[in-house]
Point group: C2
Chain length 150, copies 2
DNA sequence: CTGATTGCAAACCGTTTGCATTCTT
DNA sequence: AAGAATGCAAACGGTTTGCAATCAG
């Protein structure tokens, strides 16, 4: 955890950005909530608990910065809110999501699964793939069980 | 084209909605621009050419209606704008997109491609898939050629 | 020191909503 | 006639921006 933070700091630094307490606090929150898909506002509130003087605009600017450096991925499940996901270290590609239409939960799939599909797309459509977004909408296991109980 | 319009009208009707000139004009625009990925504003401006008295709110309400009836899919490429895509008739699943990072063009893939992946996800994650969203980000064929010319 | 970064408030912009009016059925 | 649908303008909510004050390097 702490070493992960160090590496991110180094990335910021070598990209010519300053290491402010606000940026560190923001990255810390992201590290502590890897599994959640936090909105900017969520991050803001969490950072505020530890560093109450921070402003929402700074959080937005930091998240934008981290997105630019590919430390974080900005995603969008169709409600009008952007969410921010820490990239797994060494992950070339973005992970996939399972969004439950009933309870709204979001699960992650780390496995690639798309290698074959990408090969087809690159060959047939002559499209050089840089990244992908794959989201499945459906009913999660827990909600399925709820139905069976009735 | 005209028969497609008729069928959509019928769908609206049998869902208990009225057939107003504004709704017809909006559907017409969507049919005439199937390949484009129009935003609500785009649709509004196009409808306005033929029916200048229409209001933006009505376009939003109609698009919402069509989305609800699954005549149209609401998509979101990450810029803060929703776009609306007419569903191919008989298409069970949503089609995929290729977004070019350089020129911004959006191509469509009608083929399913995800059957195998979906089978894996349903089995391994016990997730009942209802729909999916798959977008590839990369460089389109034309932009690749532009590079080679240099 | 000096330019980068911050916090605040105001501006933005796509979208939604309240309401009186108009139109389908 | 009666409820649904419309147009307008105002409200909304997430995000961005201008600016003076502050801070990191």
């Amino acid at each position: 955890m702490e070493d992960r933070l160090e590496r991110i700091k180094k990335q910021l630094h070598s990209a010519g950005y300053k290491l402010t307490p606000q940026r560190e606090a923001t990255v810390r929150v992201l590290l502590e909530h890897e599994e959640d898909h936090l909105s900017a506002e969520d991050v803001y509130l969490l950072v505020k608990e530890k560093s109450p003087e921070i402003g929402l605009a700074t959080v937005y600017r930091t998240l934008e910065l981290l997105t630019e450096l590919k430390i974080v991925d900005k995603i969008n499940f169709g409600d009008g809110v952007s969410r921010y996901d820490l990239r797994k270290e060494g992950a070339a590609h973005f992970h996939h999501h399972l969004v439950c239409l009933e309870c709204g939960s979001v699960a992650e799939i780390q496995e690639d699964l798309l290698e074959d599909v990408e090969a087809i797309v690159e060959r047939e459509w002559k499209f050089k793939i840089k990244d992908h977004r794959l989201t499945f909408h459906g009913i999660c296991h827990r909600c399925q069980q709820k139905h069976e109980e009735k």
